[in-house]
Subunit: 241 residues, 3 copies
């Protein structure tokens, strides 16, 4: 029996991981799906990356979780990297699921193509609270390309505006991911075009982990909606010793 903590990506909350958590629980494990500070409905969107990381580090300590298999999706890779740097003693393994892998001094925007940065800059400037949303056509074509039109719309409807400072704040680490002395896995969905595949997740970002275990699975960036049971299986393969 292992303890998994699943950290969602931008625009999501922990609630969107519940359908993934259930098959993992059915296999006998404990699964937590916390929501990162800044993504709860009532949260101030002016929160920065440091406070977002703190919220998950605090979640682990408040629940006294140890030997944790900590997964981050997309933006969640920034969070779990920061948590691993702050409290490695609570962790057994990191799993990056199509997630950003930052070295110290990097921000999320350093790892996305310029046209995304330009889009985010424009959208956040037009927002009342420095938050960003994805235009629906980008979501439907590049993020949830394996879903039906109906699923794309219903999933879009549960997204929340994301605190943009968490994309522009550089992370500060004592140890870069490649040097972290902990098991590391990377789950790559082979049809994930949320980043263009010429400037993609794997191997461009995965190999920043140094020695890591690769698990690949068909599907888009939003497999938590389109194939939650298959994703749960990949997580258990990525998480085992």
């Amino acid at each position: 029996m292992s303890t998994f903590v699943l950290v969602h990506g931008a625009w999501h909350t922990g609630q969107e991981f519940e359908a993934v958590a259930q098959p993992i629980r059915d296999a006998g494990h404990v699964v937590h799906c916390p929501t990162v500070a800044g993504n709860n409905p009532a949260d101030d969107r002016r929160i920065g990356l440091g406070a977002a990381i703190t919220s998950i580090a605090d979640y682990l300590s408040e629940n006294d979780l140890t030997d944790v298999i900590l997964l981050g999706h997309s933006y969640g890779g920034m969070i779990i990297t920061g948590v691993a740097d702050r409290c490695p003693e609570r962790l057994r393994r990191l799993i990056y699921w199509n997630a950003f892998v930052p070295n110290s001094g990097e921000c999320l925007n350093d790892m996305v193509p310029p046209h995304y940065v330009a889009m985010f800059d424009a959208v956040s400037a037009a927002s009342p609270d420095n938050s960003v949303m994805l235009p629906f056509p980008v979501w439907r074509e590049a993020f949830i390309n394996d879903g039906s039109a109906e699923m794309a719309q219903s999933a879009y409807d549960v997204l929340n505006p994301h605190p943009y400072a968490t994309f522009t704040d550089a992370i500060s680490l004592n140890v870069n991911p490649a040097e972290m002395e902990i098991g590391k896995s990377y789950i790559n969905c082979t049809e994930d075009t949320a980043l263009p595949q010429s400037l993609g997740w794997h191997p461009r970002l995965s190999e920043k982990l140094g020695l890591f275990r690769l698990v690949q699975i068909p599907g888009s960036h939003e497999l938590c909606f389109t194939e939650p049971v298959a994703l749960a299986g990949a997580i258990m393969k990525a998480g085992r010793d």
Copy 2:
């Protein structure tokens, strides 16, 4: 119910799409499989790219087709790009299936490796009518690598000499594909080595579409022969809204 028009690649005719069309029709859609001018048995092989594009644009207007999901395979990507530039009002979405994606001023030969151009130059020069054929070993190993020897031979036997000017004529477009205001999908067969994967279809050519939907499926460049039902499924996923 949607209307699909499937445009074949070089050396093929529309007939080779019939086994793919059937499962799409069985799902309730209308499917047309026209043959591009220059590939019918009686056609003059000295035809150029402009006339080839015109033949499919004319097909749409003569049949008064609207809201069309227009698919092009391989060389067919040249055709559907030209059709989309000329009569966008008839189209709902473009689907490129391991297809060339030209910008204005490019010809097909600009997107293939030099050893293919040299081979095509030599074969066409030796032909009576500036046409090209594929040597069987290239077809068997690099185009239909997932088929049996028997299927490779029987499929080769239905190929027709291809008008080489359609490879060397530059396309002239008012709008490049990335700027076309229409849904665009790219189907990539993951074992397609008709182009070497270091200079391959996806993401090298797919990303010329700008925002597009990726659908991937196992198989070779000639899935219309080796797995027509699976290809039909991918086309329906690529074609939906």
Copy 3:
């Protein structure tokens, strides 16, 4: 009915191919799984690449095998390339399974990333007989990433120290693989991270074969342990005419 000869990779013996050979035999073929000189329990680990190649060339002639489909896994690609150069008249087709493809004058170490060479240099220098082993964490995470912890351990337990000179000796060929007049196939396991995918097996090494047939299959570098039946199926597809 065909005759297959399966040549194992570094640290392995022919015995580890028996579970792969059985389904091929069940399909009516003859399958040989010789052990390359230097990898038998009693062999001197100071053996070089030339003697290793000779041992398999001798195996073919001693058993008077002709029309052979000769497969090499990983390091075995060095062996089968050398055998094909010496006795092409005995061969029908070469199959490289996530294998090295050398041109004349290259050694295996020329095709691996610098951090592997540094690791091998250090390990061999500390050995009594210029042999190398893989550290277990590298094996578990990067070689057999699709297996359970138990399978990773039990497979590791049957590995043997590998003669390091076979990695550092340059091969001498009359004809480079791209110019060899014989059928050539490459089987690529899509989750093989034994080489980092940014400096990987396919297409980086496969395309040194010139015209070749690609067969891809999910799994790690050690599919002979994790999915021997699926590997057998891929080998039969790669080996047919």
